[in-house]
């Protein structure tokens, strides 16, 4: 097990290296003069030069790359052009709402989608199955910001059940946290519920054909136990894989959702950076999210061995 974990850690290093290289080259190889684009249309030559120096663009490219990698290894993601604060500090300030939203979304999605998927597989080809699958297709195609605005329109402006936008920390006021996070969570969950329900259905459906399911039923095992213990447990690996891959979608979705619901998290940091042309923030967040994604999928790889004892590396 330990050697396996070690091997997997080593395997993530090249991927992280490639990500770092791609992000590094983005700024250096982009057509035109990025310093001029970042400085804006009305910048003087001096201002452009200052940004070029700040981004380290006037050194030889190999020197740039090595010093940049060194900074990365120390956790230095660069300095914001606009506020002069380290990007890592800005991320630390804004991470709580984003983590909370990601957490509520994944929890809500799994709690809703897995039972829906099992139900659809159990009642395969019935109207329940069809309804779940139609819902899955619609949910998968529903743009998160469109759904977000429809939810605000119906439940915040119309029925007034929830506040229109904003965020409250659960550590300050749990009640207000729940009322503020509900609509964003539902909006962001739609795509995951669709994705997870679909894969759960397919995976459970496949397992239900297995001999051991027939054996379990033949020995008079309760249907509930057959579904949850025998079928779902064995269908877990693809479901967990999809949840891991879905994190990439989640990151894109978080940026948009925070913008719709005015949540002061990392997504808003990106949007503010776009408006202020603060490229180091965008770059820092790309690195942060990519590494987070790689790390999460590494953990999921390890979780496989716990979920399915047959998987041995």
């Amino acid at each position: 097990m330990l050697t396996f974990i070690l091997k997997r850690v080593l395997a993530t290093v090249p991927v992280m290296g490639v990500v770092a290289l791609i992000v590094f080259l983005l700024l250096r190889l982009s057509p035109g003069d990025p310093a001029a684009v970042i400085a804006g249309d009305y910048a003087t030559a001096e201002q452009i030069e200052k940004i070029r120096t700040q981004l380290g663009l006037n050194q030889p490219i190999l020197v740039q790359f090595i010093s940049w990698l060194g900074d990365l290894a120390r956790g230095d993601l660069g300095v914001s052009i606009f506020s002069n604060l380290p990007v890592s500090t800005l991320i630390a300030q804004r991470i709580e709402p984003t983590l909370m939203l990601a957490f509520t979304t994944i929890t809500f999605s799994v709690v809703v989608a897995v039972p829906l998927g099992v139900l659809a597989a159990w009642k395969a080809h019935s109207w329940i199955d069809r309804a779940v699958m139609v819902f899955a297709v619609v949910g998968f195609s529903m743009p998160v910001f469109v759904l977000g605005y429809f939810l605000i329109y119906g439940f915040a402006l119309g029925l007034r059940w929830f506040p229109v936008q904003g965020y409250r920390s659960p550590f300050v006021d749990p009640g207000l946290f729940v009322s503020h996070i509900t609509l964003p969570t539902i909006a962001l969950s739609a795509i995951f519920i669709a994705l997870i329900a679909r894969i759960t259905r397919a995976s459970v459906l496949e397992v239900l054909e297995e001999d051991y399911i027939r054996t379990a039923r033949a020995k008079g095992q309760a249907e509930r136990k057959v579904l949850l213990v025998h079928a779902l447990r064995n269908a877990a690996v693809p479901i967990v894989t999809v949840i891991g891959l879905g994190v990439a979608l989640l990151i894109g979705g978080v940026v948009v959702t925070e913008s719709v619901f005015n949540i002061p998290g990392l997504g808003r940091l990106v949007v503010d950076a776009i408006q202020k042309r603060d490229y180091p923030i965008i770059q820092g967040l790309i690195l942060f999210f990519s590494f987070l994604y790689i790390a999460l999928n590494f953990l999921i790889d390890i979780a496989y061995t716990l979920l399915d004892p047959r998987i041995r590396y």
């Binding site: 090249p14 991927v15 290296g17 490639v18 990500v19 290289l21 791609i22 992000v23 983005l26 982009s30 057509p31 035109g32 990025p34 684009v37 970042i38 395969a124 080809h125 199955d129 069809r130 699958m133 139609v134 297709v137 619609v138 998968f140 195609s141 529903m142 743009p143 910001f145 469109v146 759904l147 605005y149 429809f150 605000i152 329109y153 402006l157 229109v164 679909r198 894969i199 397919a202 990439a248 990151i251 894109g252 940026v255 948009v256 913008s259 990106v270 949007v271 950076a273 776009i274 408006q275 042309r277 490229y279 965008i282 770059q283 967040l285 790309i286 999210f289 990519s290 994604y293 790689i294």
Partner: protein, 291 residues
């Protein structure tokens, strides 16, 4: 979509026997009609009782729907029906262009990687890296470095779509290259480019057509997201994402500025995705059975 894929009668073609097909896939047919309507609307936008999408009319601002302005007007008095119809143009142009570009580029890279062992390792590591970067953020970075223009937006949306196409093509190549007819072609002295074009490429086509519809839907969504966040299509062009971004401040008093283009976007993406599912069941039954 529908649980199992029933065997199709021998001799059934993609467009032949549409009557049984329509009965079996009513949703797919409905989606095809919706997509067709959007395409027609985009092509004939000036003829569809529209005015100038950019014409300002401050006296007529924030008006509710009426006989003159079917969807009402926005905060500058521009006609929302006109802008929504013209928005279909932007979406379709971006969706189709990105689909064509990413499929062609992915095809070339995938064929090369699948056939030249030396390049395979390097290319696939780069693709793994690209896939680990969230697509929307990568596109935002590309747009904010090169400035917003139609061209930049299309390039920025294409780049994150490429790795999935490459993986797909490479997977097909790796299976096909072991097939007896390819071995026979190699033994007969057929040169590599000819093998790729004559034997490998046709095997990729069904999966690529299916993938193209998904890429198209995903590109339209990303374009809207980028425009909505202010890193997309230049704001003077009436795209659905731009309309929604401009409507944000007026949402409590005039939600239709956001809801009409939003509904159009959702409907378009849904229709293209369902069409993709239908094509997949039809063209790529192996894939259909897996998902």
């Amino acid at each position: 979509m529908s649980g199992t894929v029933k065997a199709l009668p021998v001799g059934a073609t993609l467009f032949g026997q549409w009557r049984p097909l329509a009965a079996r896939y009513p949703l797919v047919l409905a989606s095809a009609v919706i997509v067709l309507l959007f395409v027609l609307a985009a092509l004939c936008a000036p003829l569809l009782w529209t005015t100038d999408p950019l014409a300002l009319n401050p006296l007529n601002r924030l008006k509710p729907p009426s006989a003159a302005n079917w969807f009402g007007t926005d905060q500058f008095g521009r006609d929302l029906w006109t802008r929504t119809v013209f928005g279909a143009r932007v979406s379709l142009i971006v969706g189709v262009t990105v689909a064509i570009l990413s499929i062609s580029i992915g095809l070339v890279i995938g064929l090369t990687a699948g056939y030249i062992r030396l390049l395979d390792g390097i290319v696939m590591r780069v693709m793994d890296g690209l896939m680990a970067i969230p697509g929307v953020l990568l596109a935002i970075a590309l747009v904010s470095l090169s400035g917003a223009s139609r061209f930049t937006v299309i390039v920025a949306i294409t780049v994150p779509e490429i790795p999935r196409v490459v993986r797909l093509v490479r997977a097909v190549v790796l299976t096909v290259r072991e097939e007896p007819y390819v071995e026979a072609a190699v033994a007969a002295g057929t040169r590599l480019p000819l093998i790729l074009i004559r034997h490998v490429l046709p095997n990729c086509v069904p999966a690529l057509i299916v993938q193209a519809t998904y890429v198209c839907a995903s590109a339209m969504l990303t374009e809207a997201i980028l425009s909505f966040l202010g890193a997309g299509t230049p704001p003077e062009i009436p795209s659905w994402g731009n309309m929604m971004a401009e409507g944000r401040a007026f949402f409590p008093i005039a939600p239709r500025i956001i809801l009409f283009p939003g509904a159009a976007l959702a409907l378009m993406i849904l229709a293209v995705n369902v069409l993709g599912d239908g094509l997949r069941d039809r063209l790529d039954p192996k894939l259909a059975r897996r998902v």
